[in-house]
Amino acid sequence: MVDFGYSLSPSSRINLDNFDQGRLTILSKIEPDLIKCIACGSCAASCSAANFTKINLRKVILLLHRGLDNEAVSLIEGCMLCGKCTLVCPRGINTRNLIRSILKTYKEV
């Protein structure tokens, strides 16, 4: 084979057509409030760990809805479940519970 010195690049495009919603459906049953997120970012802004980690719950919820599960889960790793985000959510989502449910649903598989 010819050595070209380069190759096809990986695609970062979100393709909602190939999105297996199985786990999201399970998660939504446990956490029906998940769907109420308005992506305001209050959770991420108030996160005590965000200065030292990549934690961003707003992005996690978003990425789960785009089928980017691995990237999503990587953004709550290191969460100490302090619950500060739950206090600030304007839609009253129990974010602390939500994080636990996400870890449970997506880590087990």
Partner: protein, 229 residues
Amino acid sequence: MGKLFDKLMEDYRFREGSNACINCGTCTAICPAAEFYKYDPRIITYTVQSKDDAEIEALLKSETIWYCGECMSCVSRCPRKNAPGLIIMALRSLSIDLGYFIESEKGRQQYALSKAVCGNILKYGYCVYPRTFKHKAHPESGTVGKWIEDNLEAVHKRLGSNLDGDGPGILRKIPQKDLDELKTIFDITGATARLDNVEKISLKKAQEMGLSQEEYLEHIFTKTEIDHH
């Protein structure tokens, strides 16, 4: 406000291409670079309008400004008549002028580009010239490309070229007087100064990296050492 922003504003392309961005993402949605690089033209457009010197300086030294392919597909879509592609061109020019291009892997490639393209222009009058377009550096030219290279004069003769010949025609030899005019244009419009600047800074960088000029050129032309995707 920012001195770097003011410098950008001196560039016609920046003035033409930078209006108030509303962060809608129509540019990124169809950008050929956005899917295959860590690249988001929306964010660049939004960042430059902050006029924040520190942020602009970071951009000028970044990999990201070198990802655009200048296809200008973004231009036809923007609802605020921005031209992210033109903003990128202004950022690149400034990055080169200030010597910041050397700070990024993709920026360092400017030396190889300058040598190859401007070398052809000043020597032959063409951007691309068949005797300097080598199969070795372009394996994708395929088996046919190899056949053309091995039989260059005969193939061009067969296809009606006037390769290196006198008078008009395909790939004719462009008279020396015309090449001299191109060189004078380069001299008085800043191209020669830019080429010299890129060379001077690049050779310094090569020295820093412990590479000879040839090794450095080979390195920046072929090597990728960081993740761009």
